[in-house]
Every structure is written in structure tokens, then in C-alpha cells.
């Protein structure tokens, strides 16, 4: 299916990218000097460490990290002390971690010989990387076997709080026409500095992201996919304090898409910026290697800031997210940058603005599967009006050739979707997408007309904003409230205590291997 085009000022586009690159180069320098507890826990998970300890069900990786911290060993990272212990105790890494939980003190252990350590490390790293590769090849094979549905993919959310209920809702949605199923996370999981364990049945406004829940949903979706004869994508959230760990779990369980934004947690969950920037890097390395598409969260800005007045902040943030993604080795095909249909419906010609903004995203990121979000902010208890808004949203998506269509739900202002709310959303999208399948081939936007002018105007304002950010630095820009009209200070926010400066002896051979394989570091 083709799509119409508009002319953007190509010099300006280039300049915008160079500014975004400089902004993220500056942040990356800081990222490279730091690590976080969640990054180290993710490393242990990559080494195969799993399970929980005691009645409180504290994840084993958290227990180990707490001990390393207590022993002042954290600045060398978790890999070296744990792997060294495995060598001298002749145990596997899981057993060493369990022994730590049982009272083993790593400070009492001798060091293995460097050459033995290196050979052993290399073997572990190869195994870890191979495990991810195997899973992603398995997914590719299934995609080839079942076939890819046409774009825009119809993306539906489930959020019952109970993974087994989610499965029922998700499978029904697949039979009704959904291509992508996202399980929304429980309220405030993003602020937990650990990943809950096992199958869960009690969540608020969503269901806990756990590795077991991932597995249960994956199995249910694959089974439904075989029945309908089309590949079904599974989505979860690698955001919040456990970004890197969730990316690892998703890679192990074969998820296709992860919400993963470089700034969302900072702005919308008050997570410390150094923590989030550092965490997003390692989580994106994992995504890039596991062939997981990331979805960024620019759409959310428009829930707190005005969608016309602040449209350029979305563009600026997309460009920044793109540069961070490039640094982590993500190919454009895996960058699902965010955008949303959130203009006040009372505004005359709001549809023209929406088309202009949607076209700008398409033109700027032609190879990225842009994630297009439905109206949410101006959805009200009038579900019938809301349904009409969703129809226009679907029309714009189809007309402008978007890739990932998060279907609007008529009861958005009321509750997380009921089964029939999702069904009605699919009725709408199935109708609009089929009715307009080749509309994009036929449309020409008037050169120099409103849509093209507006897109360029937003681009220009985005460039001005990027110039400013590049001058003051991204940290200060966030402190000034540039995105989403929300201010966050670099010294505040949740999870700062989990960030540490890497010591001289810091090692993370798995991260090094990912960087090498992805060709991202010198």
C-alpha cells in the first residue's frame, strides 16, 4: 500500500538529526561512566540466574545485588565477582547466587587465574548471547510460516490485572482481527526496583510484567496465531526502574515489541534521569540483538501539553529517541517512534493538523514502524462521540501509511477495555482499513498547502528546540520542563540510589559482546 508524500526542507532535516546526535553524544558520555543495579541484575539474568528467595519472594538477583552493595563490591559490576566465585567453587552461576542467599561471603574467596577467568567468561557470554539469538530465530521462523498481516497492524491492549483473564481477552481479540496484543502493566510497577515473579492474578489497571506471565501469554498467542493463520505480535513494557531486566526476560520469552522510551519514566513516573538514561541504553542493546521493536512514548507528552502548540516537542523527542536507538544498535525497522492523535476535537480543521503531524512523522522516519496512538485525552463519557473520533483516527492512519495502530477504545475515559469495547474498536478499524486500503495511493497533498506548510513549521520549531537543548544539555532541558510541560531535577527522582559510577575494575563482558555484535562501540 502506498502513501502520499510531502516535501520537507531536507537541509533542516539533516540539521535536526545532527543536533539530536550531539545532544545524545553528550548524554552517552555520562551513560558510559555509569551502571545501575538494574543493569547488573539484567546481567545476572543473562547469565541464567532466576528464581526468588524466601517467603517475601525477593528475586535472587536482587538479593545478590544487595550483598554486593553491602560488601562495597558493586563498582566492579556483578559479572566478575559472581563468575569468579563460580570458578573457584566449581559451581554454576545460579548455584553461586543461591549460595550467596544462603550466606556465602564473596569477600572470603580467592581469585581465579586471569586466563581461566577469561576463558570461562567467554563461554558464559557465548551461551547467553546464543540463547537470545535462538529465540529470535525461532520467532522469525514462525513469522515466515504464518505470514505477516498488512499494515497498519491493529494493536490492542488487555489490562485485566489477571494473566489468565488477559489470555481469554487477548485470544478473543485475535479471533476478532487483532495483530498485536499488549499487556498493560499494573499501576506503579514501574516504581518497583525488582521484577515480580511467577504467574500473577492481581494487578491495578494492568497486569504485572513477570517472565512467567510473558510465557503464558506467548503460548496463548502462538496457539491463536496458528488457528487464524497470521503472526501475532506480543508487547510489554521495558520502562520504569527495571527496564534492562524486563528487556532480558522479553528476549528470553520471544516478545516482539517493548515500550521503551529514553525519557518517559523521567517525565511521567518521576524516575531519576541518570538512572533512566543509563538503563535505556542496556535495555536497547538487548532489544537490538533480540530483534525486538521498541516503541517510544512521545504520544504521552500530548496528554499534558497541547497537541498543536507543543507538536514540535514530539518531533524533537522522536529525533532524540532515534539517536539513542542508533547508539544501541537498533535498526530503523526496530524503531517504533511514538506519535498521537490528541488534538482537541473542538478545534476547526483539527483533522488537517492531525494529517500534517502524521505526515511529518512518516516523512521524517520513513523506515520506522511509527506507533500511532489514538485519542485519549479528549475522550469523554460520550462513548458515541469517542467512537466517531476513533474513526477519523483510523482514517488518518490508513491515509498516511502508519505502521502500528494502537486502536482507540470508545470507553477510554471510563475503564480499561471490556471485551466488547475491544471488539467494537476492531469493527471500526477493520471497516476503515478495508474501505481505504488503497486510498494512500490516490492522494496528493497540495504542494505548499496547509498540510505541507504545517509539517515544515513543526519541523522548524523542533529544530529551534533542539538548538536550545543542544546548548544547555538534555539534563538541563528536562529541568526546564521542555517536554510534556513537566520539570524534573537531576538530583531528584526515584532510583538515583541505584546508580553508581563504574570503578577501574568494572567489567561487563555480556554488554561488551552485545556492543561488539551490534557494531556500536569503537
Amino acid at each position: 500500500m502506498g502513501r502520499p508524500t510531502i516535501e520537507l526542507d531536507s537541509k533542516l532535516v539533516q540539521y535536526a538529526r545532527s543536533l539530536a546526535k550531539k545532544i545524545t553524544d553528550d548524554v552517552q558520555k555520562i551513560i558510559d561512566e555509569h551502571s545501575t543495579v538494574s543493569t547488573e541484575r539484567a546481567t545476572l539474568r543473562l547469565l541464567g540466574v532466576d528464581g526468588v528467595v524466601g517467603e517475601e519472594q525477593v528475586p535472587l538477583v536482587n538479593v545478590v545485588l544487595d550483598k554486593l552493595k553491602e560488601w562495597n563490591m558493586l563498582d566492579q559490576g556483578a559479572f566478575k565477582p559472581v563468575v569468579s566465585a563460580a570458578i573457584v567453587l566449581d559451581k554454576d552461576v545460579q548455584q553461586v547466587c543461591e549460595a550467596i542467599a544462603d550466606g556465602l561471603d564473596l569477600r572470603t574467596l580467592p581469585q581465579p587465574k586471569r586466563n581461566i577467568y577469561e576463558a570461562f567468561s567467554q563461554k558464559l557470554v557465548e551461551e547467553a548471547v546464543a540463547r537470545i539469538k535462538r529465540k529470535s530465530e525461532e520467532r522469525d521462523a514462525l513469522l515466515r510460516e504464518l505470514g505477516d498481516p498488512p499494515k497498519p497492524y491493529k494493536y490492542l491492549i488487555v489490562a485485566t490485572g489477571n494473566i489468565y483473564e488477559d489470555v481469554v481477552q487477548a485470544r478473543a481479540a485475535v479471533f476478532q482481527g487483532a495483530d498485536i496484543i499488549a499487556v498493560i502493566r499494573s499501576t506503579a510497577q514501574s516504581l518497583l526496583d525488582y521484577v515480580p515473579y511467577g504467574a500473577t492474578t492481581e494487578g491495578y489497571g494492568g497486569t504485572y510484567a513477570t517472565q512467567e506471565n510473558f510465557r503464558i501469554m506467548r503460548q496463548a498467542l502462538d496457539d491463536a496465531a496458528r488457528k487464524v493463520g497470521r503472526y501475532i505480535r506480543q508487547v510489554n513494557y521495558a520502562s520504569g526502574l527495571c527496564m534492562p531486566e524486563i528487556a532480558v526476560m522479553a528476549a528470553f520469552e520471544g516478545l516482539d515489541i517493548l515500550l521503551n522510551d529514553a525519557m518517559y519514566g523521567i517525565l511521567f513516573r518521576d524516575i531519576n534521569m541518570l538512572r533512566t538514561f543509563t538503563d535505556q541504553y542496556i535495555s536497547r542493546l538487548v532489544c537490538a540483538y533480540a530483534n525486538i521493536t521498541i516503541n517510544t512514548g512521545e504520544d504521552n507528552y500530548l496528554t499534558t501539553a497541547d497537541a498543536i502548540e507543543k507538536a514540535h516537542t514530539v518531533t524533537a523527542s522522536q529525533l532524540i529517541n532515534e539517536q539513542f536507538a542508533i547508539k544501541a544498535g537498533l535498526k530503523p525497522q526496530l524503531m517504533g517512534l511514538g506519535h498521537a492523535f490528541e488534538i482537541n476535537p473542538d478545534i476547526e480543521d483539527s483533522l488537517l493538523y492531525e494529517i500534517a503531524h502524521a505526515m511529518l512523522s512518516r516523512e521524517l522516519f520513513p523506515d520506522c514502524p511509527v506507533k500511532y496512538m489514538p485519542p485519549t485525552r479528549y475522550m469523554t463519557g460520550n462513548i458515541f462521540k469517542g467512537y466517531a473520533m476513533n474513526t477519523l483516527f483510523n482514517l488518518v492512519s490508513s491515509m498516511t501509511g502508519q505502521s502500528i495502530q494502537l486502536l482507540g477504545i470508545l470507553t477510554e475515559a471510563i475503564h480499561t477495555p471490556y471485551m466488547h469495547d475491544r471488539y467494537l474498536a476492531l469493527v471500526n478499524a477493520n471497516y476503515v482499513f478495508s474501505a481505504t486500503r488503497h486510498l494512500g495511493d490516490e492522494i496528493l497533498f497540495r504542494p505548499g498547502g496547509f498540510i505541507e506548510k504545517r509539517a515544515n513549521e513543526v519541523l522548524k520549531k523542533a529544530v529551534e528546540l533542539l538548538e536550545h537543548i543542544s546548548d544547555v544539555g538534555l539534563f538541563s532541558a528536562i529541568e526546564q520542563g521542555i517536554f510534556a510541560d513537566i520539570r524534573r531535577s537531576r538530583e531528584a527522582g526515584k532510583g538515583l540510589e541505584g546508580v553508581f559510577k563504574k570503578g577501574e575494575a568494572y567489567e561487563n563482558p555480556i554488554r561488551d559482546a552485545l556492543e561488539r555484535e551490534l557494531g556500536v562501540k569503537g
Binding site: V168, T416, H420
Partner: protein, 247 residues
């Protein structure tokens, strides 16, 4: 005693009792599902039940849109509406009143408490800009506003109340799944009592699913729901405080 006034739903003729419903039943799409839906509506008290559409949701679920008629009527003369009582004064008048009677601005602390991260509702009551062209409390000379934002633990809100000597607390709750808002609001109220702060404070809750009735039940002084404008809240605060402090 008021004259009884019986009212029924209206379609196109007064007292026709016409109602439209939609729901899902966990029954496989088919004749049994249709009959079950019809029976269900009859049990609800509807007659002339028309299943306008039934659609297959798969996995053993069926969706219905139904029209029916009812004889159930309500006597509106006997209904008491529970809402905060306020007189609508313009902003200038409120500012003047507070200056005259309080001789200082009223100190307001606002927060979205607990795990709830929604700020837009509270901001539209507090921020200068306000809501739908109605200015927020910060715009008034009558108020000194501390907006703590979202995800604020009740204990932190209480600390701020003490620190700034608040007269009024404004709490927002938007997420209501599994009644988490009730949990949060109860926790705050208990804390205010435990800290001996409750009696001197005006404590107000708000959010799209908050009603005045619910707020009163939870021990709050008022509750404001969807579409609340800042001026309503401003008027309530000032009038209620004047009354309570005998000014």
C-alpha cells in the same frame, strides 16, 4: 410533602420507558445466547425486548445491543441531591472577601496521592491556566497554592500540611480499578486524624469517579467529579471556611 412526580425513560413518546443496553454474556454465539440475553433483560424488568444485534466475540462470548421498555419509574420529588452547597461568586469578589475576613491568603496544598500518576485533573484546578477558560486557584489573590504533583505518599502530604500551615488539602484520585482510590483516600484521612490535623483542615477530594457522596462517606468535606471548574472549588473553600471559622 411535595407532589409525587413519577418519571420513566423517554424514547419518542412520554412515558414509553424505552431503554438501550449493551453487554456481553459468556455464552457461545448462537440461539441459546440470544434467549439468555432476552431472559436476562426481562429479569431486569424490561419487556418488548429486542435484540438489535448480537455479535460473536469468539472464545465463547457474545455481545448484545438490546432495546427494551420498562415500567419502572422514579419519584423525582423524593430525591435529595447530595452536592456541595455553594453560591457562585466571581473571582474578584472571592479575593476581596478573603482579604477582608481572613486578612491573609488561604493556604492550599494539593497532591495526587498514592501510586496514582495523573496530574492533569489537579493541575486544571490549581494552575493559573485553569480549566475550560475558568482560571485556576493560583490565579486568585485569595489562595497560596502548593501543588505537590503526583505519586505523593500521604505521609509526605501531611508533612507539607504542617510545614506550610495549610488551611485546605486538595487530593486527586483518578485510577479507581479495584477501588484503589478508596484505599488511598482512607489512608490519608486516617493519617490526618492520627496526626491531629483533621479538625482544623478542609479536606477535599476530586477526580472523574469521585462523587460528593463518596467523599463524605470517607470523611472528607467535599468531593468533586468530572467537569469540575476551579471557580466551583474556590467558592466552596472560601464559603465553607468562613462558615467554620465564624468569620
Amino acid at each position: 410533602m411535595n407532589q409525587q412526580k413519577l418519571v420513566k425513560p423517554y424514547g419518542d413518546q412520554l412515558n414509553d420507558g424505552a431503554v438501550q443496553l449493551s453487554f456481553t454474556l459468556p455464552i457461545e454465539f448462537g440461539p441459546l445466547a440470544r434467549e439468555a440475553a432476552k431472559k436476562f433483560c426481562e429479569k431486569l424488568g424490561f419487556y418488548e425486548v429486542t435484540i438489535a444485534t448480537m455479535e460473536d466475540l469468539h472464545e465463547g462470548y457474545t455481545f448484545f445491543v438490546v432495546y427494551g421498555k420498562t415500567d419502572v419509574a422514579v419519584d423525582v420529588s423524593s430525591i435529595k441531591v447530595i452536592a456541595p452547597k455553594i453560591q457562585r461568586l466571581p473571582r474578584e469578589k472571592i479575593d476581596e472577601l478573603v482579604l477582608q475576613k481572613f486578612k491573609r491568603p488561604i493556604v492550599v496544598v494539593g497532591a495526587t496521592i498514592g501510586t496514582d500518576a495523573h496530574t492533569v485533573g489537579l493541575d486544571s484546578i490549581l494552575n493559573m491556566k485553569g480549566f475550560h477558560g475558568d482560571y485556576g486557584l493560583e490565579r486568585y489573590k485569595a489562595f497560596r497554592v502548593y501543588n505537590l504533583g503526583a505519586q505523593v505518599p500521604p505521609i509526605e502530604l501531611v508533612r507539607k500540611v504542617r510545614e506550610v500551615g495549610a488551611d485546605v488539602v486538595l487530593v486527586s484520585q483518578v485510577v479507581t480499578q479495584r477501588n484503589i482510590h478508596i484505599q488511598h483516600l482512607t489512608e490519608l484521612m486516617e493519617l490526618l486524624y492520627a496526626e491531629n490535623l483533621r479538625d482544623d483542615l478542609l479536606v477535599i477530594a476530586g477526580g472523574p469517579r469521585i462523587t460528593h457522596e463518596l467523599a463524605l462517606e470517607l470523611g472528607y468535606d467535599a468531593g468533586f467529579g468530572s467537569g469540575t471548574t476551579p471557580s466551583e472549588v474556590a467558592n466552596f473553600i472560601v464559603q465553607e471556611l468562613l462558615k467554620r471559622r465564624g468569620l
